[in-house]
């Protein structure tokens, strides 16, 4: 490769129009499609555009603008923000532990701008960025060095521990998995990961002893939901009835009895998927699942196109985070894993989740737009 050629490839004209041209509009289209699914489901849940659907559309529009703005920001600039973002994330977790709102038995919310924010959602993105920044400046050989791995492990454990303490078991597990995926992408040896997983498995009974009552109740009812049909098992049973009665073709838009007779608990937030499944049947739910799968894989594909380790790892982390949201939520409404307060991104109503997911996609898109950017300090052997 001649020097001239390299310049052309690695330093494309990063003008605003050029950048806009580089944005993966196909991916944006997929996100819009998903948000449209959310609008339809929330329209049905609210019996009209009010009260959920119109606000959902507004929130998505705002998130989309935010995402595009971030996508146009230089990924190297974003990379420099990695560690400050991490520090802010931890500080927010400390803040929420001391003065956050206590809701549904846990202290995990901060009220800001008329919305309730979960710092743990911001923390997941900040953690991915921090880990990506750490591994970006390391050669592949160094990743094998156990001493080099101690700081990033601590970087993962601090927020995971704090989220566990909130207590928010679901998000803590997702955070840990997302962190682990970045380690994996950075090239950590399989057997080391195996050891960590084994250690976690051994710690599980210990963790159960420290779980809060409501979390234990969830695990018990998950194992046998009919044991308490009007208590904690109620959500799972009603949710399964909604899914199951949808059948192959569904009951038709706005015709779901479970939905409209209000048997479904929190149908517009965590259980929004059941509305789709009940009203559009297996056909509808599989179509939405396929859309979610497509978004996950498209994000992964964008990660593969990056020419710098930071971008690759950040994109990987964001993609895995989205996947974990989807998997935990859908598995939860089917009663396949214990219920936890995890929304379906871009479909569920409310909260900061939609916005934070879009911010994450913004960082992913920036990595993709600037996929050929040259980091001055790349692969320095420190």
């Amino acid at each position: 490769m001649s020097i001239l050629e390299r310049r052309l490839i690695r330093e494309p004209s990063f003008g605003l129009t050029g950048k806009l041209f580089q944005v993966s509009w196909g991916f944006v289209l997929l996100l819009c499609a998903l948000a449209a699914v959310g609008y339809a489901a929330l329209y049905s849940a609210g019996g009209g555009a009010e009260p959920y659907a119109s606000r959902h559309a507004l929130r998505f529009a705002f998130g989309l603008m935010l995402m595009l703005c971030i996508a146009l920001a230089d990924i190297r600039f974003i990379a420099r923000l990695s560690w400050p973002a991490y520090v802010v994330g931890v500080a927010l977790l400390v803040l929420v532990a001391h003065m956050g709102h206590v809701g549904k038995g846990a202290q995990r919310w901060i009220e800001l701008g008329g919305m309730q924010w979960q710092p743990s959602e911001f923390m997941k993105l900040a953690l991915v960025m921090a880990l990506a920044a750490w591994f970006h400046q390391a050669s592949w050989e160094r990743v094998g060095n156990p001493l080099f791995l101690i700081p990033p492990v601590i970087v993962v454990l601090v927020p995971v521990g704090m989220i566990l303490k909130e207590p928010n078991l679901g998000t803590a597990v997702i955070t840990a998995v997302v962190g682990a995926s970045v380690f994996l992408g950075a090239g950590l040896r399989w057997w080391k990961i195996a050891i960590v997983l084994a250690a976690l498995g051994a710690a599980a009974p210990l963790a159960y002893a420290h779980l809060h009552d409501y979390q234990r109740a969830r695990i018990t009812t998950f194992l046998n939901p009919e044991s308490d049909p009007l208590g904690t098992g109620y959500n799972i049973i009603q949710s399964k009835i909604a899914l199951g009665s949808g059948g192959m073709w569904g009951k038709g838009f706005m015709q779901g009895t479970q939905n409209h007779l209000n048997f479904l608990p929190e149908k517009q937030t965590d259980f929004v998927f059941t509305i789709i499944a009940e009203e559009f049947g297996l056909v509808g739910s599989l179509a939405v699942l396929a859309l979610l799968c497509l978004i996950t894989l498209a994000a992964m594909a964008m990660a593969l196109r990056c020419r710098h380790q930071y971008g690759r790892l950040v994109a990987l982390g964001v993609s895995v985070n989205f996947f974990m949201y989807v998997f935990v939520n859908v598995a939860m409404v089917m009663g396949a894993i214990p219920v936890g307060g995890v929304p379906l991104p871009l479909v569920s109503h409310g909260g900061s989740a939609t916005i934070m997911v879009m911010v994450g996609f913004g960082v992913l898109m920036s990595a993709y737009v600037h996929r050929d950017a040259e980091f001055g300090d790349a692969e320095r052997d420190v």
């Binding site: 019996g47 009209g48 009010e50 050669s139 592949w140 995926s181 994996l184 992408g185 950075a186 090239g187 049973i237 009603q238 399964k240 009835i241 909604a242 899914l243 199951g244 009665s245 949808g246 059948g247 192959m248 015709q255 009895t257 479970q258 409209h260 007779l261 048997f263 499944a277 049947g281 297996l282 739910s285 599989l286 699942l289 979610l292 799968c293 996950t296 894989l297 992964m300 990660a303 593969l304 020419r307 380790q309 690759r312 790892l313 990987l316 895995v320 996947f323 998997f327 859908v330 598995a331 089917m334 396949a336 790349a378 692969e379």
Partner: protein, 621 residues
């Protein structure tokens, strides 16, 4: 570059691996979806069918509040309301147009109705208008054929037959707040109200009752097919108050247009027979929400209609406090009944001169005549000898400056200063403060209710507590018998001297309130006047022949009067405070006299039924 290629190679392999795992997971989710939705679909469809039995709560009637004779003071009215069922109307707009021709609808009402129709499913009734009058209802019923979709049904609403007259005692109800909703699912029913003030609030748990439930069979879209089962709720319990509603109206009548309050107690047991505050407000306005303009009008009124002046208004007791000072002096043996004190019209203490209200002075006086003439110098001297702490302790024994057991949440306990309190403030207690306290001025604050309690306690010698509940659900409260109250343990001789002084105030020619003498045969009343300064009188004003009548209204002194009757066998105690009414003798004593005449002729405490001739007047139109 080689290294990055190496890293990229590893990353690509790992990313593909993760993607593969994710794909597998999606596959598993899809398989599980197939299992739940199609393979086991039939089972869940049956379960969804059985979900069609819906349970709805029905609100029980709220318990009534009755006066001591069983006359309702808070009852339930039927509330006729027009509802609109959208699916039965060919066009919602046309139906509303037709409705508006019969019963005018404001634009904002119409906007609210149309919004509700959009929000709810079409078979769910939406309220068009509440509180229909009989004529409006008749017009709607007659024109029913032109009003497709409109149905008239009946709910309940709270009615206060005595309106403003009992507003401060009975209180009012209002729709539950967001915060109330959690505690009882019944509170989320439309039209439900909870007690927000007064006895409505205090007896809320007894008045509310328990909701009933009706099991309905609903079809797939939730329309009611038939009623399967019905469990009636428990209606709220009726609560009987100690108040005599007719007497209350009479008392309010005697207060006239003044900003004033009066309390009448059964002196033997503390039962509150009347507790009147003027001006007042209409409690039914809270039922459907108070308008901003109304609220502003109440809160900006300097006569404070929302405040229960009888239980929460704070005033210096003025000369009525001399009863306490006299008892404190006698109990402490700082003065004996025969001691005489000379009043030259002032008392000099250091370089400060404390004036008596009578410019020339009273000359030599004993305790009985000190009370009768309300001589300030006499009580300056008694207070000086007794000391503030013993006076304050005696005031507390008479119910002043201590919390009373009245059921009203807004009741205040007033304040009696002590040396300790002043020192805690970082200031020294001056002897001058004691002198001023001797005539009930300075730091002292009491409520009309506590003054009535003081009068009842000096009259009977029992430590009665004021209360408003006579019976709950027909079971009488124990504190309505005289035996429930312990003796105050004060010397009977001392109390008799003070009572005699109070008798002389009213019944001797040169007492301070001969105007209050009862125009009844065989019955006499004892009392004590008071006026509490709102503003200090300067020396300059005094020398220029000061007249409080010339002051602007809000700076005039308050007029007070406490009384009990009959003097030989005390049964009723009464306190009257007329805000800015100048002298107690002129403004408050005649009111107390008229009240006591009504009380004695009605004699409510000894009756179970209201006097027959008065019922017609007492019951509302």
């Amino acid at each position: 570059m080689r290294r990055d290629r190496e890293r990229k190679g590893v990353f690509t392999r790992r990313a593909l691996l993760i993607a593969g795992a994710e794909l597998t997971a999606f596959g598993a989710l899809a398989a599980k979806l197939y299992q739940v939705q199609v393979a086991e679909g039939a089972k869940y469809r049956t379960l969804a069918e059985s979900n069609r039995i819906s349970v709805r709560l029905i609100a029980p009637p709220r318990g009534r509040l009755l006066d001591r004779f069983g006359v309702p003071v808070a009852a339930n009215n039927q509330n006729w309301r027009a509802l609109l069922i959208a699916e039965q109307a060919e066009s919602v707009g046309a139906t509303l147009d037709a409705f508006a021709r019969l019963v005018p609808l404001a634009d904002h009402e119409r906007a609210r109705i149309e919004r509700d129709v959009r929000r709810h499913r079409r078979f769910i009734p939406v309220t068009v208008r509440e509180f229909l009058t009989w004529e409006e209802m008749a017009r709607i019923e007659v024109n029913a054929p032109d009003l497709p979709g409109i149905v008239v049904d009946v709910g309940t609403t709270r009615r206060y037959p005595f309106g403003p007259a009992l507003a401060h005692v009975v209180g009012y109800v209002a729709p539950p707040s967001e915060a109330d909703m959690g505690e009882d699912p019944m509170l989320s029913l439309p039209g439900i109200r909870v007690g927000r003030a007064g006895m409505e609030k205090y007896h809320e748990p007894r008045l509310r009752g328990r909701a009933g439930a009706v099991q309905l069979e609903v079809n797939a879209v939730g329309r009611v097919i038939r009623e399967l089962d019905r469990q009636e709720g428990t209606p709220g319990t009726d609560v009987r108050l100690t108040i005599d509603a007719t007497l209350q109206q009479q008392v309010l009548g005697h207060l006239g247009e003044e900003s004033a309050s009066a309390v009448v107690l059964d002196a033997r047991n503390g039962a509150v027979l009347a507790m009147a505050t003027n001006p007042s407000f209409d409690p039914s306005l809270f039922n459907s929400g108070v308008s901003q303009a109304q609220w502003l009008q109440w809160t900006s009124n300097r006569r404070a209609p929302l405040i229960n002046k009888a239980a929460a208004g704070l005033y210096a007791p003025g000369s009525t406090f001399k009863i306490v000072v006299a008892m404190a002096g006698l109990e402490a043996r700082a003065i004996s009944p025969g001691d005489r004190i000379n009043c030259p019209g002032y008392l000099d203490l250091g370089d400060t001169r404390f004036h008596c209200w009578k410019r020339g002075g009273h000359g030599l006086l004993d305790l009985r005549n000190g009370i009768k003439n309300s001589c300030d110098v006499f009580f300056y001297e008694v207070a000086r000898r007794t000391g503030i702490d013993r006076i304050a302790a005696m005031a507390n024994r008479f119910g002043l400056g201590v919390p009373l057991e009245i059921e009203l949440a807004g009741a205040r306990s007033g304040f009696i200063p002590t040396r300790e309190w002043r020192i805690a403030q970082g200031k020294a207690w001056n002897i001058g403060d004691t002198i001023v306290a001797g005539i009930g001025q300075g730091f002292l604050q009491v409520t009309p209710l506590s003054l009535a309690v003081m009068a009842a306690r000096i009259a009977t010698g029992r430590a009665v507590q004021p209360h408003l509940t006579l019976a709950v659900g027909g079971v009488e409260e124990p504190d309505n018998s005289a035996d429930a109250w312990p003796s105050m343990g004060l010397s009977a001789h001392a109390m008799n001297i003070v009572r005699e002084g109070m008798w002389a105030v009213v019944n001797e020619q040169n007492g301070t309130a001969p105007i209050a003498k009862l125009p009844l045969p065989d019955v006499q009343m004892a009392g004590k006047t008071g006026s509490s300064q709102v503003r200090r009188v300067s020396r300059e004003q005094r020398e220029h022949g000061f007249k409080s009548e010339t002051l602007p209204w809000e700076f005039r002194p308050h007029a007070l009067f406490v009384a009990f009757a009959p003097t030989d066998r005390p049964r009723y105690a009464c306190a009257v405070v007329v805000e800015h009414g100048n002298a107690g003798a002129a403004a408050a004593a005649p009111v107390a006299r008229d009240i006591m005449v009504d009380v004695l002729t009605r004699d409510p405490a000894n009756r179970r039924q209201p006097p027959p001739d008065r019922v017609a007047q007492g019951s509302p139109a």
